[in-house]
């Protein structure tokens, strides 16, 4: 009987193995993407299909992991044999990837034409010590989204320009009983909370690190930023579930009409505002740049851009580069500009493409220019983890904001 089972198992294995090997092309490359924010999984699959149609000799397998797994997967796959050829990377990782030789230095592959046609802010995404480790792909920052219908109902004429106005408008909306918790944020213990925190920190004139790379967020603007977050929860205007949310949860709550304000990436504009799909507030979505602080900063934004790079273990760097160029090309980005805006300056001034998206593009012009960076350090992950924990303990009231941030500074390994 065990023989029958073994035989069945074996033949199943063989049959499946053959089925898997049926489709083959000259070169196969593997690419790693994330399934969170910006381009949807379907967008990436379609772009890849377009590329393969144009390049029948190259087959691209795409793989999707949650953002939280993106960095770990990239690093772990550096062990021989596992390799991806192309990986998506966040603006905060080039330092670590370059130090650990995860990505190939592609400075020489970038032409002067490319250099000048792509927005300067985008180039910072792939840069470490004046070397480029890939091509910028997603040029993104967080915006303040609002539900125009709710604001109108509350008698609010214009969306907030400062963080304090945001709180007071939210309070008005809450008091009028329009929605229980007017603001929703992505404050889970994840990188998402650092992005929101960065915008607040920048607005209050704080900084993450001193010039010589020591922690600086535990005083001044860094503490005020966290104070603000705690206050918004205490006043009951922030959805208390925010502390277990990442971007997708924010989008879902906002799109289902359960929040008046939300901080999120570009992709939420069209996914919440375009009828069809899961949104219940189509046509009622407003977008403005992140608020600032009177007398300190007019508008805030965080650099949340991402790039595509070639891994050092790739055996097909040329094919990988070809794929990256196609994915980041103006042609591709124009076609899929619904959820992520192009890196090419020319696109923003083309009146045809900008229609339907005017409010977003208006906000983008301010936001993209104001992008504040998260710190550049090979030990970014430890620093970020420490700050995430500090923010959570402050939000959960297990520590005072300044004390929590002091602990984080001590635990950051810097």
């Amino acid at each position: 009987m065990s023989k029958t089972i073994a035989a069945t198992a074996l033949s199943a294995v063989l049959a499946l193995g053959i089925a898997g090997a049926a489709a083959h092309a000259e070169t196969t490359i593997n690419a790693l993407f994330m399934s969170q924010a910006a381009y949807s999984e379907q967008n990436v699959r379609d772009m890849t299909a377009d590329f393969m149609k144009d390049n029948p000799d190259i087959k691209v397998n795409v793989e999707f992991v949650p953002y939280e797994g993106l960095r770990d997967k990239t690093l772990l796959s550096q062990g021989a044999g596992a390799g991806y050829d192309v990986v998506l990377f966040d603006v905060i990782w080039p330092a670590e990837y370059a130090e650990n030789k995860v990505l190939v230095d592609v400075t020489d592959r970038i032409t002067a034409d490319m250099k000048s046609a792509i927005m300067p802010g985008a180039w910072t995404t792939v840069d470490y010590k004046n070397h480029a480790y890939g091509m910028p792909w997603i040029l993104d920052t967080k915006y303040l989204f609002y539900n125009t219908e709710m604001l109108k109902k509350a008698g609010i004429a214009a969306p907030p320009k400062t963080w304090d106005e945001l709180l007071s408008q939210a309070k008005t909306i809450k008091d009028k009983g329009i929605v229980d918790y007017p603001i929703v944020w992505s404050w889970a213990q994840a990188e998402a909370v650092i992005c929101d925190y960065t915008m607040l920190l920048a607005s209050y004139g704080g900084s993450f690190l001193t010039d010589d790379g020591k922690p600086a967020f535990q005083s001044g603007g860094g503490v005020q930023a966290l104070d603000y977050m705690v206050k918004s929860v205490e006043e009951g205007v922030t959805n208390p579930n925010s502390k277990e949310y990442v971007e997708e949860d924010v989008r879902r709550v906002f799109s289902s009409g359960q929040a008046a304000f939300a901080l999120n990436w570009t992709y939420m504009y069209n996914s919440a505002n375009t009828p069809g799909g899961e949104t219940k507030i189509a046509g009622k979505v407003g977008v403005v740049p992140g608020p600032g602080v009177a007398g300190k900063l007019d508008a805030s934004a965080v650099n949340g851009s991402m790039g595509l790079g070639i891994t050092a273990t790739s055996k097909h760097p040329d094919e990988a580069w070809k794929y990256i160029l196609a994915m980041t090309s103006l042609k591709t980005q124009e076609k899929y500009a619904q959820l992520s805006l192009p890196i090419w300056s020319a696109w923003y001034d083309n009146p045809n493409v900008a229609k339907d998206q005017e409010p977003l593009i208006a906000a983008a012009k301010v936001g993209l220019a104001a992008m504040y960076p998260r710190p550049t350090t090979p030990k970014y992950q430890e620093l970020s983890t420490a700050i995430q924990q500090a923010i959570q303990s402050a939000l959960l009231k297990s520590a005072a904001p300044d004390a929590a941030l002091k602990d984080a500074a001590a635990a950051s390994g810097l």
Partner: protein, 294 residues
């Protein structure tokens, strides 16, 4: 003793494949882990310096490791005790005569057979704060007046994870309990019923002697399993909120893989192994004692 001579000459090599496998994929990695734990080895950069005990000292002094130890201990105690009580109650129930008993017994297999990751995902959806079934049910029944964030609140997150874990694992305890109850001679049960002995008295006098051994084994096995917990927490909370569900295994993952400090991660892993060894010793002793009773 022909078979002894026969076995020695012709069957001596039979255990070798298993020994070879265990030596190469358990023994060797374990010894390597011990070695790595005394070095500052990193995951991706080659080369490692001997650093003596400093990884261990750092680990023991690290508040994150301490909190992970507390979290893990709580996880073991909470989930194993829920599994124990729910399991024994269900086992006693399944030992009764009633219609549909066979069906219910078979149903107990369902949670047990569900993959851990699927179970974790299922409960994560149920606990979801805005659209999850638990909030919807409790509020429609009028038991809560506003939606709760079950996995977002450190007060409830660990309990929520423990309950999800217990749901999957209590059937095993129940079936072990049932199996033990079925070995109680029928006359003994009948005698106790006719005596009109109260439930508790009957339980202690008639059932407990039969249950004690198997249940000890079950509890210790579950405790060892629970102490290694990784998947259910990884899927449900990833250790959050504010580290309130970060177990030792998750801490090791973070240290060795996310932060790439292989040496330091190995030292935490070995601390986990050491504690687990204590449980195992208890288990083996219990098993021996049970064998002697038989």
């Amino acid at each position: 003793m022909i078979e002894n001579r026969w076995m020695s000459s012709r069957a001596w090599f039979l255990p070798l494949p298993l020994l070879f496998i265990m030596a190469s994929i358990i023994g060797w990695p374990f010894l390597r882990t011990v070695w790595v734990s005394f070095t500052d080895a990193r995951l991706l950069t080659a080369g490692a310096e001997w650093v003596g005990l400093s990884n261990y000292l750092n680990a023991l002094g690290n508040p994150l490791v301490q909190s992970a130890l507390i979290v893990t201990t709580k996880f073991v105690v909470y989930s194993v005790s829920i599994e124990f009580f729910a399991g024994v109650l269900a086992g006693l129930l399944l030992d009764q005569e009633f219609r549909g008993r066979t069906v219910l017994r078979a149903l107990m297999i369902l949670p047990w057979a569900l993959p851990t990751v699927v179970n974790a995902t299922m409960w994560r959806l149920i606990y979801q704060p805005d659209f999850g079934a638990l909030n919807a049910m409790l509020s429609q029944l009028g038991m809560i007046d506003s939606y709760r964030s079950w996995l977002g609140d450190p007060q409830s997150a660990l309990w929520a994870v423990c309950l999800a874990d217990a749901w999957k694992n209590f059937p095993l305890v129940a079936l072990i309990c049932l199996a033990a109850l079925q070995s109680v001679p029928g006359e003994l049960k009948a005698a106790a019923t006719i005596d009109g002995a109260g439930f508790w008295k009957k339980f202690r006098a008639v059932y407990l002697p039969f249950l004690a051994g198997p249940l000890t084994v079950a509890v210790v096995l579950r405790a060892i399993e629970a102490f290694k917990v990784f998947d259910i927490i990884w899927v449900m909370t990833r250790g959050g909120p504010a580290n309130s569900t970060k177990s030792l295994s998750i801490a090791v993952y973070q240290e060795a893989f996310s932060f790439q400090r292989a040496g330091s991660g190995a030292s935490i892993a070995l601390i986990v192994a050491l504690i687990s060894a204590v449980f195992t010793t208890i288990y083996v002793t219990a098993m021996r004692r049970q064998a002697e009773v038989r």
